[in-house]
């Protein structure tokens, strides 16, 4: 079962110039270019019937943002990776394919400042406080320092 699934993934990844690696048993990483990500996930969900999106992880990779879509299918963990340049922090939303992804995209938008075009609720805050200053960098970027966040949000405790 799992070999057939990985063969199919390989086929769709080849179409999109992607790379498939299996570092451990039951864990598959697929690196896909940002432009093909929506089409690839559409294949995964609609053609291969891998339906269970566990979550979406955002990463700060220096010049780029990394996004990992974690799918669980039986005993396989299928993880679709892509990168988005920081100078143009916007990518396609997959809410049209998987409606359950809506909150995960909002979470990454809050914590990394990455835009998901096509997500209807993307401009609402989900996790960050209402008084989060607009000029403060999103909290999970490596350049964002906890001490500065505490200072700007007036969370510092005065020590006597």
């Amino acid at each position: 079962m799992s070999e057939v699934l990985i063969q199919h993934l390989q086929k769709y990844a080849d179409e999109a110039n992607g790379k498939v690696t299996t570092p451990r048993k039951g864990e598959t990483f697929i690196e896909i270019d940002q432009a093909h990500i929506k089409a690839f996930i559409s294949h995964v969900v609609n053609d291969l019937r891998v339906l269970w999106l566990s979550t979406i992880t955002g990463l700060d990779l220096g010049q780029n943002f990394g996004i990992i879509y974690h799918f669980s299918h039986e005993n396989q963990k299928i993880q679709v990776k892509t990168t988005v340049p920081k100078i143009q922090p916007s990518t396609d939303s997959i809410v049209g394919i998987i409606p359950g992804a809506i909150l995960y995209e909002m979470e990454i938008h809050d914590l990394f400042g990455l835009m998901f075009a096509g997500n209807p609720w993307i401009n609402q805050k989900l996790l960050l406080p209402d008084n989060w200053p607009a000029d403060l960098p999103p909290p999970l970027l490596k350049s964002s320092k906890p001490a500065e966040i505490r200072k700007r949000l007036h969370l510092e405790v005065e020590r006597k």
Binding site: S54, T55, L59, H70, S72, N75, Q124, L140
Partner: protein, 419 residues
């Protein structure tokens, strides 16, 4: 509409929904569980749309994890939840163990299973009690929470703590089971199974529970649950065989015989039945595991530096799939740790369940997803036709719900009815 009330509505961001009634549900009250905020948009009594706003207790654990050593993080992530604390540390430990070359000893895997299943039993019991409370059946609440104490006693005897067990270590567990515990655990589990059967018969026959739970909760089809990526009991109660313990066994789940429970009715009562059945399965698993506990070491000591790489792990928490992702660059601290809790995954399903329900059923339906939040303690109401504004506490909302179904109760303390 007067200028003053218009300004008030504008500042609250309510102008968008001026035709229907908007009910802000939450977020602030420190007394009961955690704060959460749902904008409920009503048409008369019926809910037509729900918009969530979470994050009132967001503490930035993922950022904090990047500043702390690998081992310290495990005890920090355990503090994510006060009910299912063990499974958080277990899932984080598994994510980190995947990056190392060490194997977890067999005895430690069995001990992990025993504690995780005890946690599931006490979490489900807690939930059944809360459902009794919101339905207006306090006796059930008292009985169930009394039985929960018996489970917590065993947890305390094994781990030393009742709530934050702090028993896990990377590649093992820190404490072995005390000697001569087997008979005591088996006896207690037998008692819990008996009680669970009794509670099942109550749910099927008692009038209060039948009225408040039968055919309550919007119908969610299998297709909707799949699309919204529902996890745990919320997937199983529509008939999906979705359980990490069965699909992708971790710890010792491949060596202990068990089967998962699914139902197909799709109302709140089927969730009660499902969780009580699951509890019985878990109790039998604990009995089996303590009797077949293998001998050997319980822990492998590992160096503080974790090799570079990335690994993800998932476990079945009482509320559904829990997910951790860890990325190392070969240092003493992680490069990135991502954690996703089951309630987050089930919020889209909860919103779907609430649509079309009456206001009186909100406490039952929201509690039915077993949320790790659910501050029912503050609701303010706005009637857009008469510009009336009033506030109900969670207790008053509960009374309103009970009165809706049983008009002869709470005669002495009438709560205000909706116009």
């Amino acid at each position: 509409m007067s200028d003053e009330s218009k300004r008030k509505e504008e500042s609250a961001g309510l102008m968008e929904y001026s035709v229907e009634n908007l009910v802000p549900f939450g977020p602030i009250h420190p007394a009961l569980k955690e704060p959460e905020y749902f904008k409920l948009i009503l048409e008369g009594e019926k809910i037509v749309q729900v918009i969530p706003r979470i994050g009132y207790v967001h503490r930035g654990l993922e950022k904090a994890a990047e500043q702390r050593p690998w081992v310290q993080n495990m005890y920090m992530f355990e503090r994510t939840c006060g009910i299912c604390s063990f499974v958080h540390s277990l899932c984080y430990a598994q994510a980190v163990e995947g990056l190392t070359i060490y194997e977890v000893p067999k005895r430690a895997e069995f001990l992990r299973l025993i504690i995780a299943e005890l946690e599931r039993i006490h979490s489900h019991l807690l939930w059944v009690g809360l459902m009794g409370h919101w339905a207006g059946f306090e006796t059930l609440f008292m009985w169930v929470w009394n039985d929960r104490e018996l489970v917590l006693d065993i947890v305390e005897a094994i781990c030393g703590n009742r709530v934050h067990k702090s028993t896990n270590a990377i590649c093992g567990v820190r404490r072995d089971m005390p000697e001569n515990m087997t008979d005591r655990v088996v006896e207690r589990m037998k008692y819990i199974v008996d009680r669970a059967h009794y509670y099942r018969s109550i749910i099927d026959t008692e009038e209060t529970m039948l009225k408040r739970t039968e055919n309550v909760g919007g119908k969610v089809t299998q297709e909707t649950a799949e699309k919204l990526c529902a996890v745990g009991p919320m997937a199983r109660y529509v008939g999906l065989r979705q359980d990490v313990r069965l699909n992708d066994p971790y710890a010792a789940y491949d060596e202990v015989p068990f089967d998962i429970v699914t139902r197909t009715e799709g109302d709140v009562r089927s969730l009660l039945r499902l969780r009580l059945d699951e509890l019985i399965v878990s109790a039998n698993m604990v009995s089996y595991a303590v009797q077949h506990l293998p001998d050997g070491p319980i822990r492998v000591k590992i160096p503080p530096i974790i090799p570079a790489g990335e690994h993800s792990s998932h476990c079945e928490a009482p509320r559904g799939e829990i997910f951790y992702y860890a990325k190392s660059t070969g240092g003493r601290t992680p490069d990135r740790v991502k954690s996703r809790q089951p309630t987050m995954a089930n919020i889209p399903v909860a919103l779907e369940l609430l649509k079309g329900q009456s206001l009186a059923d909100v406490p039952m339906v929201l509690t039915a997803i077993d949320p790790c939040f659910g501050c029912m303690d503050r609701m303010s109401f706005l009637d857009t036709e008469t510009n009336e504004n009033w506030t109900w506490s969670g207790e008053q909302l509960r009374q309103y719900g009970i009165q809706h179904y049983f008009p002869d109760r709470f005669k002495t303390q009438q709560v205000r009815r909706l116009p």
